[in-house]
């Protein structure tokens, strides 16, 4: 159909909203509470437009186009209404722009400038409202909240509903629920347009890991960070900047940079062994992946009876941290107690994961600090390191070269695919070339893989709300679950407000890296082979570095 947008004829599809059509045609309409992941709320009242023949102003996010509709997106009346509503919104929001996850790239600020509003027209009504800390992962400063409800919806969509509304003095506020547990996925954070959520330590503690001059500092970079951090420096979505990250980290004065994907290769090998064992014994099936700490916590808090179904294999960052403080420390002749391991992760739950006591090796935590993608970008920016300009540098060895399988851990389905490649190889001595996945539900893909005589049914699901739907009574043998939409590329530590299109680009880049790798099977990675021959020789040491335990949490 055709509609008229700001006096220009444009083509629109039935069912599309005015906002979507405007976006497609390069017409900007401010929309704070709109996020394509979430249901339309039309609550911020900024995306106002005029429609010929309909009195009043209408919200572009919720109004569907009709043939011949004539729409105006800017007028004196529209701008006046936007301005006043913006001033009212700012009056709820205590600004702290210097230390904000939005890092000055914030729609509120941009609109304040565009509409030349007085952000202090009304006094801050939320002054002194509480700051909540959700474990060692997330902080919610409710004095910044503009009541758009995105966090509540994101939390609901995750099947948790930890965040809720509470009425106080006749006004609703967002508060953490009393009878529920947060699983630290951080989807509230990345969907909040007002920067009311941040990771613990973001950004005030980001330089801390580098401060102790007596330590040898080793960084590791998670798979998905390489295809997302470029966004913070104005690079196109999905730009792969692995070696630029390495160069940047080196400029911070860091001694070594390794790749978490190498840790992932070890996870794959161990997980594959466990899968084969469980398939043979037919015990604790389906086996669930456990490298996502928010997912693990979800099971521990809400479905403890499924704990035996989680694979006991440690997550890649923990395995790599363990190897750094054991194998590599010995090689480099450094006292493990003198090593600081810092992981750059797309995730806020990883900040919590490293505090888990049962992960300690000889009394030491495998990983000492987690910085999110956003935090590393901020650290670079503070030191005037521009990823766009910096010269690439090779990653360090021996723990820097992963197989392709290790890289795809960053996107939904990657862990499963890696483990199946290895399992197939182990059981048949042949290479598994392709797995035919079929979409069976929201962010849920399933496949049947014939390994020898055995038919194995597998599924990969992302988003805890989607995982919840297949937790019980499912037909699968092996299920990969990632808490965040699309997997780690959509994680709570990633650049803010990404939508499906952005996540798709981040993921596609990881699969592209894998497809170009010569070695695409974890067990073929030379460092994996070498370590199993020379270091991970008996069950005791394998268990201490590569396996863990889970327990009910409440």
């Amino acid at each position: 159909m055709k509609i008229i947008l700001n006096k220009k004829k444009v083509v629109a599809l039935p069912g599309e909203t005015i906002l979507a059509v405007a976006k497609k045609n390069g017409v900007e309409i401010p929309a704070l509470c709109f996020h394509s992941d979430l249901k339309i709320k039309a609550s911020c009242r900024l995306c106002l437009v005029e429609i010929k023949g309909r009195p009043g102003l209408h919200t572009a996010c919720s109004t569907k186009v009709e043939p011949g509709m004539e729409i105006i997106t800017e007028s004196a009346r529209i701008n006046k209404a936007r301005r006043i509503n913006l001033e009212l919104l700012f009056a709820q929001h205590q600004e702290e722009c210097d230390d904000c996850v939005m890092n000055f790239d914030c729609q509120l600020l941009e609109l304040a400038r565009k509409y030349k509003i007085n952000i202090n027209r009304f006094d801050d009504r939320k002054k002194g409202l509480p700051v909540y800390e959700f474990g060692p992962a997330l902080i919610f400063d409710s004095s910044k909240c503009i009541d758009c409800g995105n966090c509540i919806d994101a939390c609901q969509q995750q099947g948790i509903g930890y965040l809720e509304k509470e009425e106080k003095e006749n006004l609703y506020r967002v508060v953490p629920g009393k009878n529920k547990e947060c699983v630290y996925c951080g989807q509230c954070l990345v969907h909040c347009p007002a920067g009311a959520f941040e990771a613990v330590g973001e950004f005030e503690d980001i330089a801390k890991p580098l401060e102790d001059k007596n330590k040898v500092v080793v960084f590791q970079i998670a798979p998905s960070v390489r295809s997302s951090i470029g966004e913070e420096f104005g690079l196109p979505y999905g730009s792969v900047v692995t070696e630029k990250i390495v160069a940047g980290i080196k400029q911070l004065g860091v001694d070594k940079v390794f790749d978490t994907c190498v840790g992932a290769d070890f996870t794959t090998v161990e997980e594959s062994l466990e899968l084969i064992e469980r398939l043979q014994s037919k015990k604790n099936l389906p086996m669930f992946t456990s490298c996502c700490p928010a997912w693990v916590r979800f099971i521990e808090c809400y479905y403890p009876k499924l704990i035996p179904n989680l694979t006991t294999v440690r997550s890649p960052q923990i395995i790599l941290g363990g190897l750094i403080k054991t194998y590599w420390a010995r090689q480099a002749k450094i006292d493990p107690a003198r090593i600081t391991v810092v992981s750059v992760m797309p995730c806020v739950a990883k900040k919590y994961e490293i505090t888990r006591e049962e992960l300690k090796i000889n009394g030491l935590r495998p990983v000492d600090y987690v910085l999110t993608t956003r935090e590393l970008a901020k650290l670079f920016q503070r030191k005037k390191i521009d990823l766009k300009k910096i010269k690439s540098e090779k990653i360090d060895n021996p723990l820097g070269i992963p197989s392709g399988a290790g890289v795809i851990y960053g996107a939904s389905g990657g862990v499963m695919e890696s483990a199946l490649r290895t399992t197939y190889q182990k059981m048949t001595n042949k290479k598994l070339l392709k797995i035919k996945f079929e979409t069976v539900g929201e962010r849920t893909r399933a496949a049947e893989v014939k390994i020898g005589n055995q038919l194995i049914r597998v599924a990969a699901v992302s988003g805890l709300g989607n995982a919840k739907k297949i937790l019980e009574n499912n037909p699968y043998d092996y299920v990969e679950v990632m808490a965040c939409p699309g997997g780690c590329i959509g994680g709570g530590g990633q650049p803010m407000l990404a939508d499906e299109e952005v996540r798709r680009k981040r993921a596609a880049s990881l699969f592209r890296i894998d497809s170009r790798k010569e070695i695409r099977f974890a067990e073929e990675n030379p460092i994996v082979k070498k370590l199993y021959q020379k270091f991970l020789k008996d069950k005791k040491i394998v268990d201490s570095i590569c396996h863990t335990k889970f327990h009910e949490q409440n």
């Binding site: 339309i40 009242r45 109004t63 569907k64 209404a81 509503n85 009212l88 009504r125 509304k165 006749n170």
Partner: protein, 321 residues
């Protein structure tokens, strides 16, 4: 469809407050193509100045049921809900159940406050959801209860539907009269009568100086004693105030009502009413701020509550402060 023609002839308008043409609503739902349709008789009556639905349910329950049955007859594949304020539900449920006598009419109790009477909130409430307004369009007559075409009319509207069906309609309505008057109560009187005449006929015209609010607390205009030649709009309520009434205190009371009643979802209603409340607390009205807040309330509120709040607030401030 004869009855719809009758509605048109008698110019029957909805009595819930918005005065939407009844014929048009019925037509839209009757003509909608759907396997299932719903009828809701809205007896949620949440405005503190309005109590005529309670009166009608008490005195003319048979008429209300007759009205709903008329809708059931004309709207194919339909069943009905009688959605009642908690106290009406407790008081009238058994009596109404007897009158319903096997017809597909379910009686259910309202959840939530004033806003739970707004038509899309009513649908949400009956579905067991939080009673908050939903995005319109789609309007309930296209997609209401469980996504089906839904006819929602007020208790009083159904009463007059019954009157029309029986050929007894005389263009009247029910007036709820309260405040500083001698004879508080509900009166059925001609639509055409002025406020002045209604007060006089009911023996309620005050002797001294006074002002009043006509059309309900939530959406009624404040009128001075020289403005009473007009008819009552909205939900037909008249609340009379003695001229000694502290207007600032009344403003605060109004604000408190809105702060409790609204859902805090949209910016203008949540923040705007809060800011007017701040002015009322301080006792200082900033004209520029006020004008701007009224502008966004009127033009950008999510639902009729925010839009409707402007008339009472503005008329009170302009005429009495």
């Amino acid at each position: 469809m004869k009855i719809i023609t009758e509605f048109k002839k008698h110019e029957l308008l909805g009595r819930g407050g918005a005065a939407f043409p009844t014929a048009l609503k019925w037509e839209l739902v009757a003509r909608a193509k759907a396997e299932k349709k719903y009828i809701i008789c809205n007896g949620s009556e949440g405005d503190p100045g309005v109590f005529k639905d309670g009166f009608i349910l008490e005195n003319y329950p048979q008429e209300v049921i007759t009205g709903i049955k008329a809708a059931l007859e004309i709207i194919n594949n339909s069943s009905a809900y009688l959605y009642l304020r908690q106290d009406y539900y407790q008081k009238q449920r058994k009596r109404l159940a007897k009158l319903i006598n096997g017809c597909p009419i379910k009686i259910c109790a309202k959840t939530g406050g004033y806003l739970a009477g707004e038509e899309t909130s009513v649908c949400a409430a009956i579905e067991g959801e939080k009673p908050e307004p939903r995005i319109k369009p789609p309007f309930p007559c296209e997609s209401g209860l469980w996504g089906c075409p839904t006819l929602i009319n007020n208790v009083e509207t159904f009463y007059y539907v019954a009157q029309i069906v029986q050929g007894k309609y005389e263009k009247k309505r029910f007036y709820s009269i309260s405040g500083a008057v001698k004879n508080k109560g509900v009166y059925e009187m001609p639509l055409s009568w002025s406020i002045e005449r209604i007060l006089t006929e009911t023996g309620n015209f005050p002797r001294g100086k006074f002002f009043l609010q006509a059309g309900g607390k939530a959406m009624g205009e404040i009128l001075l004693s020289n403005e009473l030649k007009r008819q009552v709009k909205g939900s037909g309520a008249i609340i009379v105030y003695d001229f000694q009434t502290d207007a600032m205190a009344l403003l605060r009371e109004m604000i408190d009502f809105f702060l409790v009643a609204n859902c805090d979802k949209c910016t203008p209603c949540r923040e705007g009413i809060y800011r007017i409340g701040q002015m009322a607390q301080k006792g200082e009205i900033d004209k520029k701020d006020l004008a701007d807040i009224f502008f966004v309330l009127e033009n950008t509120s999510f639902c009729a509550l925010g839009r409707g709040s402007v008339l009472p607030l503005k008329s009170l401030i302009n005429k009495l402060l």
